[in-house]
Symmetry: C2
Subunit: 140 residues, 2 copies
DNA sequence: TTGCAGATCAGCAGAGGTTGCAGATACGGT
DNA sequence: ACCGTATCTGCAACCTCTGCTGATCTGCAA
């Protein structure tokens, strides 16, 4: 579902010869079970609350390391900053036009889609972003 | 197919109280029939060749105006700059991992996809980006 | 637990893309 | 042709993210 547990990530980092610092452990905890799609800035804010003085640079560094080892996905948000997705399942996204919130959605039988125009292009993955209005915003 | 003709865009601009300057007309021409997905910088380069002195700021301004009136789509490329899509049909994209080129693809029966997790979200559009290797890069 | 080699940290400066601003200029309805 | 106003240009600011550096800290082995 989400990223692996802090314990698993700790092992994974050590296995790869990366060291596990208190800053990284904090980020592991912040990401674990996180179903939002936080920006680096947001994680930095949350981390700073628990560890004043942590640097934004360190947050980026750790997020990039996690992404490089496939534990996070990077989502390019239309406006501004990238979002990090702790959910590495095969899933897609629904973006609310009003609040900007991103929600995970799952698509079945994606393979059965008929696509024309590939013209020799060989796809090995696909991401779908649905645009619309989320339940909370529709109610408001 | 692509954007509307320069003539149509001229009328559209005037109707909305926007003025049609030589700079804008040039951009209309550069976009018309353009099946690539140029960045602002690329359009600026092409425009500068025909009209030395045109400002990058003006290119952005006009592209944003066109986007606001629905004549262009903005595509957020993963790395760096935005791409402007003169094709406003209901289509999707295939992104080559090697050369970074974007190609248009068309998807049939998209509505028949089974999606779970919407949870009250009401989608009104969707965009799919396929990742893979294009024919040219696969051959090379 | 201690010591060492090397990885990591904080902080700042810089790169790349995009937008804000202000004064001068040009469009276009009348 | 005139005038009001949108637009143009050029520059600087802004935002996000990365490179760099000296000081600090971690992991590992004994």
């Amino acid at each position: 579902m989400g990223v692996r547990t802090p314990t698993e990530l700790t092992t994974e980092f050590r296995t790869r010869g990366l060291k596990v610092t208190p800053q990284r452990q904090l980020l592991f905890r912040l990401l674990h079970g996180n179903m939002t799609h936080p920006t680096a800035e947001r994680l930095f804010a949350e981390a700073s609350a628990q560890m004043p003085g942590i640097s934004l640079r360190t947050v980026y560094q750790t997020l990039n390391d996690l992404t490089a080892m496939g534990e996070l996905q990077i989502l390019q948000s239309a406006a501004g900053s990238a979002r990090f997705d702790p959910n590495i399942d095969d899933h897609h996204h629904a973006l609310c036009d009003r609040c900007g919130e991103l929600h995970d959605v799952y698509v079945d039988h994606f393979d059965s889609l008929m696509v024309s125009g590939f013209d020799g292009f060989r796809p090995d993955r696909a991401s779908i972003v649905f645009g619309g209005v989320c339940a909370a915003c529709a109610a408001a």
